[in-house]
Structure formats: structure tokens, C-alpha cells
Symmetry: C2
Amino acid sequence: MPALGPNAHLIGRPGSRAQLCTPALLLDLDAFQRNVALMAAFCRERGVALRPHAKTHKSVEIARQQLEAGAVGICCATIGEAERLTAGGIGNLLITSPIVTRPKLERLARLHERAAGLMVVADQIAAVDDLARIAAGTGRALHVLVDLGVGRQRTGCASTAGALAVARRIAGANSLAFGGVQAYAGHLQHVPEMAERARQGAPEDAKIEDVLEALSADSIAVPRVTGGGTGSHAIDAEGGLFTELQCGSYVFLDVDYRRVALRADAPQPFEPALFVRTAVISANAADHVTTDAGFKAFATDGPRPEILRGAPQGAEYFFFGDEHGRVELPDAPRHLPVGSVLECLTPHCDPTVNLHNVYHVVQDDALVDIWPIDARGAI
Amino acid sequence: MPALGPNAHLIGRPGSRAQLCTPALLLDLDAFQRNVALMAAFCRERGVALRPHAKTHKSVEIARQQLEAGAVGICCATIGEAERLTAGGIGNLLITSPIVTRPKLERLARLHERAAGLMVVADQIAAVDDLARIAAGTGRALHVLVDLGVGRQRTGCASTAGALAVARRIAGANSLAFGGVQAYAGHLQHVPEMAERARQGAPEDAKIEDVLEALSADSIAVPRVTGGGTGSHAIDAEGGLFTELQCGSYVFLDVDYRRVALRADAPQPFEPALFVRTAVISANAADHVTTDAGFKAFATDGPRPEILRGAPQGAEYFFFGDEHGRVELPDAPRHLPVGSVLECLTPHCDPTVNLHNVYHVVQDDALVDIWPIDARGAI
């Protein structure tokens, strides 16, 4: 577990937000907890289970709060994330990418012995046979879902026939239990307009429906249909196909997702809760100042960070190397002095979190806690 | 210090490279050590000192080997890097970005008490005064260089007059010692053609020369002129202005730098030494397979990773989300089965290293050691 870093002595001190060493990843506790509660309530009302994705936050404490709010379990992207969360006492994990290759299967076998309710996915028959072999050694059934390829075909079976064959193989293995169907349409999540997102999702839903019919015809009971994300959650909850949703980013809301209309009644019900605090370290240029947060503090796979606090309206952040940001200022006032501190909404939240060691948990002007990013680097 | 990860039990086993859990960051020990020796010899022959930049590798062990090969010290980009290297027994550190804001100055004061030969930079008078104040409390002089802004003006004084004023302030402070001039022309490093790089560098050199003349006229002795990088090292060594070079990436050579002609006599004297090993985890699509390395295993601020081993000629890697890569295959053979393992040259090496916890040090087909990335996340 990473140490709590150079700001640990500030926890609980009034005004300590202003004394944080920069760059620092901030989590607004109240906004975060409202987001957790809002999604939990939404799923409860619609009768769909919530299994939030920990790839977003990689945190035992956040997973714990999600479970406390009513989540049925937690998703992990990697065996490493599942190991760290298990070590932190989190159960009912679903690893959402296929586990293949011998070294990872060996880790999975060891994890399965100590992780209550662990589930995995498979998208080919040979992988099911590998899972059956390692589970046979542990003396308890491993729950395996068939992964169905939708959208850009990142993982998953490419056809109903393929999915049926994999499901049959799972159901027929003594050491395995058939856990249901997973289908994650990643390509839909960031489509800005809700109607367009629903339109693009319809053929994917048809694929899922086709697989469910084939399983039913084969008398294979389907304990769960899991998938969806923050972008598609409202559509998926209405659609009636999914029994549980794998939303992740709703806890933080990032620059990407703030542009996406998430619900028909309230386009953006979630609040930005995750920021990077960065200080101006040089101000000798005519047209910009330089801050201490660059490629190693913000993810670079998506949009630029958005300055929310600390700079005049219209100031914009641009990447300026590994450790630096360039802030271009509007016409007047032209200058931000050295030592000024800005807070920026994180661009793509998942890979941004993965760059940091801890969350600096703030309420108003105080640092109230520091939570380790337990599974950081557990790729 | 991060733990050694899931592959630690493989150290020293013949054939263990093939048994590594993926994704894994690999360091080819022989190629790496040849790179270290080659740059050390070059600087020795040209009579210029080498102070390699640890922002690239963030590793105590690599810094130790660079010092053993003759480096006069090590550069750090952040106070956090300097703290971790100091804890690992590395001395003679230069922090290459201005340290401002009170929380960082307090850390610097504590570090200065235990870090022999620590040097920092400043680009404004108020910052010099802050440094003088914290150094006064420690009882030993802090060496401060004036940072001169060149190129894109990321940090540094914008004019000769400004640099002279800062240098005078340093030289006049009782608790400080004037350490010389730093000028880092980051914008030159990746200019592919050497002649064009030299042409673009000439006006920057003129700025440095102007400052050196002003300091000389003011009878301020200049202990060192430090700057340069892997891209400009040969030009800077010839130019006669720099007394020490801050090269970083030469130890690894990445996709970016492999395209840059580094020397007149031998355009690319360094060897690729840093790779990410990644496995195919899904292969159900007609036009691609999916691997287990994405945004969280490779930096995304530069070019794409290049597949060097494990795939047919012409196969190309594309990012496919946080934890996934899409490998598009040439016409024939069309398929790479699940479990196939590829090794990719890292795109931009510095932020790629920062994503991982350890180097898997390999020689031929064996894992021979694991080195922690001690300052990972020390932003």
C-alpha cells in the first residue's frame, strides 16, 4: 500500500486545502458521496443491480462505500486490482477482462481460494478449459460469465453461436458455475446525445437478446446480464436486458463525461468531484504562465484538463511536458503570479487516478482524509 | 518503496522471460548498460560533464550505475524525486524546476539538511529570497542556479537583464551559493534532422552567451552551465557553452528518439532497451486481436508503441482503452492466437516508466533482476 505522501500531517487542520503540496489529486468528499448515493438510488428504483467498476478509482475505501450504499459487488479490470481489493477486504468481485496465459491463471487460482464470490469472464472454449483446470484444484466452483463482443469487439464472443458454445462449456464443467452474460459497449459511453446513444445501442441490445434466447432454448439459466457504464446507464436500466450495471466514472465525473447528457430528466445529475491542484511555478513569459502538473499528473488520452478555480475566466490549460502545464490567460488581467494555485477538473478520470498515489479528500477548505489508491499500477 | 510485484519469484530462473505476468515493463540489461557506457564515454572524450536526468527512470539503481560510469551528479524534476533518490543514497542532485510555494520550500529545507550537494534553480528574485530564508535555517549554503528561459519559455528568466538580477541576488545572499546557469531547450530535442536542430538551437545559444558575458562583466564566477538533452547532446558538447549535459532518455531510447539523428558520425548510437511485454487476451474479431496493455501501460502523449517482437511483420498496435491494445495484422498470416506475447518499444519513455512499479531486468531469455521505480508518482 502506498504511503500517504507529503500532505499527511495536514489531515484535519482547518484551512489545510491551501497548504497542500502540489500537484495533488483532490476528492471533494461531499460531491463524491452525493454521486455514490445518487447512482445507488437510481439503480434501486429501477430494480437493476449496481456493480461499480473499480478500474476507475482503484480504491478499497471507495469500493467499501459503494458496497455500503447497496452495490452487489465490484468490477475489476485486472487480476492485480482484484488482488489488492481482496487484500482490503472487498468481496464479490467480477474481473471483466478474460484471464489467459499461465502466469495469470496461477494467480487467479490462488486468488480464488481466498476471494469469496469471485467471478471471471471467458470468450473462447480453450480459456474455459483453462479456468476449469485451475478451479478443479481449489475445491470450490469458480463462477464464469460468457463475455459477448459488442461495439468495437474489444473482447467477447463475436457471434451467438460462439457465445452459446462458451456458455455450454462453462455450464458443463464440474469445477465451474455459469455466471451469466457480460456485454460492455464501451463505444457508446461517450456519445454526447442520449437519443443517438440509444440508437447506436439498439443493434448491440439485439445481439444480447439473441444470445439470451439461445441460452433459454438450451435451458441454460442466466443468473445475470452485466455491462453498461456511466454513459449508457439510464438507457440500459430502461431497456430491461441488463440485470446489473458496471458504471465507474459517475463517482468522479470528468471533462469527458461532463459533456455527455446522461438522463432524459436530468442530463447531468452527477457533480465533478475529482480535481488536480497545481501551482504556478514560473511567470516570466508574456503570453502564459507555467504550472507544476503535466503528463505525469493528468491523463493525456482524452481532452485537456479544465481549470475550474484559481484563474481568471477564460484561462486555459495546455500540456507543456512531463511535469509542466502552460496556462494561457485571457486579455485582462494578463497575469497570474508565481505561487497562484489552480484546481482543474480531470480529463479522463481513470488513467488520471492511476498516475497518483493517494486521494486528498477535502471538504470545503480542509483536508479531511487521505485515501491510498491501493491498486495503482496494478495493470 | 513499491514491492517487487507478481514476478519476483522468477528472478534468476532460465527461460523466465517467457513466464512473466503481462503487461510487464522490461529493461534489457545489456543494451541499457551499453547505452550508459556510451554516453559516459562520449562526455568524457568531449570534456563535458554528464548529469543524467532521473525524471526519465526514477530509479535509485539506475542513478547509481550512471554515477558509477562517471556522472557528476543526477538531475531531478521534482522535490519528490530528490527525496526518494536521497533516501536511496544518491547525492549531488540538481532539481531542475523552480521550487516555489511554502509547502515545497519546507520540504526543500528538510531535504537540504540531509542531501549532500543538493542544488536548485530559480527564475525570479522573490523565489531567491524564499530560498535564502529556508537555507538560513539549515546552517549550510544552498547552491542555486539561475534558470534561463530558452525555446518555449517553460521556465526561466526571459531576458539577460532578468537573469543577471536573479544571479546577483543569489550571489549576494549569505545562505546561498551561486551554482551557475541552467538552460534547457526542450523544443529542440526531438527535431529529427541534426542540422535543423543546430540551426534552431543557435539563437538559444546566443541568449546563453549573452548571459555569460553579463555575468562575467559583473565578476560573477559561473561554476557550471547545465542543460541539453539526448536530442541535442552532440551539438551541445561541440558548442563549448555547456559544461554539463542533462540527458535522460539515452538510457532507454524510445519510439520518439529512435527517429532522431543524434550524431553526425553515428546517427543512432543508442539501442532500444525498454519494452512493454503484452499478451493477446482475445482473438474473436476478423481484423484485429486484443492485448492486455492500454493507456495504463503506455504513455499516450506521443507516438504509438512499436511492436518489435512476437507478431508478424507489419502488425501494428493501436490504443484500445485503459487496459487494452488493438493489434491490426497484415494480410497473411491473419491471426495471432490468444496467449501470444508481444514486446513493444515504449512510445515516450518517461511517462511510460511512471505508469509501472518495477523494471523487469532481462538478459536474453531470463529475468535476472527486478528494480523498483522508486520515485514513481513522486510528481
